[in-house]
């Protein structure tokens, strides 16, 4: 049995965490303000954006992978620009882009639900105490903090266990873009079940932890 001390396993786990962590950071940067905007304000086209968001929450990751692949490939609209900050295909950067697109609608959707769960009367009372609209928005976001945290963990759960998109845009290259999910696919195909199982257990553990955390936070939110 291959253990977690195996350097190859450690490398794969660390890369998975790094890619998904960075993707999560960017999807929180996009998703939390977007969710707050949709939850706290009314503007023309809001319903359309919400409908798109819900679609995004249930979007098949392989289609995201296909989209990112076409965008970033050397003949694609972004790839051909060859700008240094646009990641190339088959790099961790490309996987970050795909995972970010997969997870930000989840973060935004859950954040929106969380801030909409705050009593609208509270916003009025906060304004009556002299808040600017920005201060009021920030206050409501802080008030919905547990829900926002849940949104981030849900986003993490959606990308750490995702395989289709990272396989397409990352390419499962050893020492470079091989993450937990793609390594499991490869090892299984090779018949190396023991390594596949070890990786699977680690992945399962991470997804389980994320879900336990969500449940605990939601439990606390309900208690409060």
């Amino acid at each position: 049995m291959i253990t977690a001390r195996d350097p190859a396993v450690v490398e794969i786990v660390l890369l998975s965490l790094r890619v998904s962590g960075v993707a999560l950071f960017f999807s929180a940067m996009i998703g939390i303000p977007l969710g707050a905007l949709l939850g706290l304000t009314r503007f023309i086209g809001r319903r359309l954006v919400v409908a798109l968001l819900y679609t995004g929450m249930g979007f098949p990751p392989v289609v995201v992978g296909l989209f990112v692949y076409m965008m970033l490939s050397r003949s694609g609209p972004l790839g051909r620009l060859a700008w240094s900050w646009i990641p190339s295909l088959f790099t961790p950067g490309a996987m970050v882009v795909a995972q970010c697109i997969i997870s930000f609608p989840l973060v935004a959707g859950f954040t929106m639900a969380a801030v909409m769960g705050v009593d609208p009367q509270l916003r009025q009372q906060v304004l009556a105490l002299g808040a600017t609209p920005w201060q009021a928005a920030l206050t409501l976001l802080i008030e919905a903090r547990l829900g926002v945290l849940v949104s981030i963990i849900a986003g993490f759960g959606s990308i750490i266990s995702e395989v289709g998109a990272v396989m397409m845009v990352g390419g499962n290259i050893e020492h470079s873009t091989r993450v937990l999910t793609t390594a499991i696919v490869l090892e299984t195909n090779k018949g190396q079940f023991s390594l596949a199982i070890a990786l699977g257990v680690i992945l399962l553990g991470m997804a389980f932890l994320a879900n336990v955390l969500v449940l605990r936070l939601q439990g606390r939110a309900l208690d409060e």
Partner: protein, 243 residues
């Protein structure tokens, strides 16, 4: 007589084309306790929201501390911060009691001084609850914390929207005492909405009666209760108002 601190002229408010407030003229004098009575649904809370600049009027002007605002004008933040409201159903933030009392100071970029916060909590008799989570408070305590968080801001005008509705007599008494001392101690102008005419009688210097979106009558408290001019006011004061 001193210049009114709040002066409404031909103020109306409509929601979806429906007129819920129509006040030809209303003056509130600096330092007074202005009681506003009337049945439910006549526009009292709406009037307070306009005076707190939470919503603009549909038409008319509101003069506040020397500046006049009509529907389209935006009210400078500094001026908006001279007035605040204690609502019938106070909503506190999911933080400690002390953090709630300091919240308005934080909004203003001021130091959330423990001394100031404790002093305010003392005045509402809740200093011992400073470290408690706000969500664990009872109704009466909640309302007193709401008074404390307004009080630390030393507003020129404090609006009270039925602050004692649904409270037990003990807490009603406490809150009336606190309101009274805010007015006496700091000279804060109070506009107090209540449908309890006895409360208005106990606290207000002048009283206004609202009915069907209209300010029917404003008078000195004594004459309001003892010799109301308008027959509708008289019926309300005698407790005969049918609504």
């Amino acid at each position: 007589m001193s210049e009114p601190i709040i002066a409404l002229r031909s103020v109306t408010k409509e929601y979806n084309g429906q007129c819920v407030l129509n006040v030809a003229e209303m003056d509130v004098l600096p330092g007074e306790v202005f009681g506003l009575v009337g049945p439910s649904g006549v526009g009292k809370s709406t009037l307070l929201r306009l005076i707190n600049f939470l919503e603009p009027p549909t038409a008319g002007t509101i003069r506040f501390m020397g500046s006049t605002f009509s529907a389209q004008d935006s009210v400078p933040l500094a001026l908006r911060r001279r007035v605040t409201t204690v609502f019938q159903r106070p909503m506190l933030l999911n933080r400690t009691v002390a953090a709630n009392v300091g919240f308005g100071l934080w909004l203003r970029g001021e130091k959330q001084s423990q001394t100031v916060i404790n002093e305010a909590l003392n005045q509402v008799g809740l200093a011992r609850l400073a470290a408690r989570q706000a969500r664990t408070l009872s109704g009466g305590e909640l309302q007193r914390v709401a008074l404390a968080r307004a009080m630390v801001l030393r507003p020129d005008v404090l609006l009270l929207d039925e602050p004692t509705a649904n409270l037990d007599p003990y807490n009603v008494g406490l809150i009336e005492d606190i309101a009274h001392s805010i007015n006496r101690l700091y000279g804060t102008t109070l506009v107090m909405v209540t449908h309890n005419i006895f409360q208005a009688r106990r606290l207000a210097h002048r009283v206004g009666f609202m009915l069907n979106s209209d300010l029917v009558e404003v008078a000195e408290a004594t004459s309001f209760f003892e010799s109301p001019r308008d027959p509708r006011t008289a019926a309300f004061v005698r407790g005969e108002m049918v609504y």
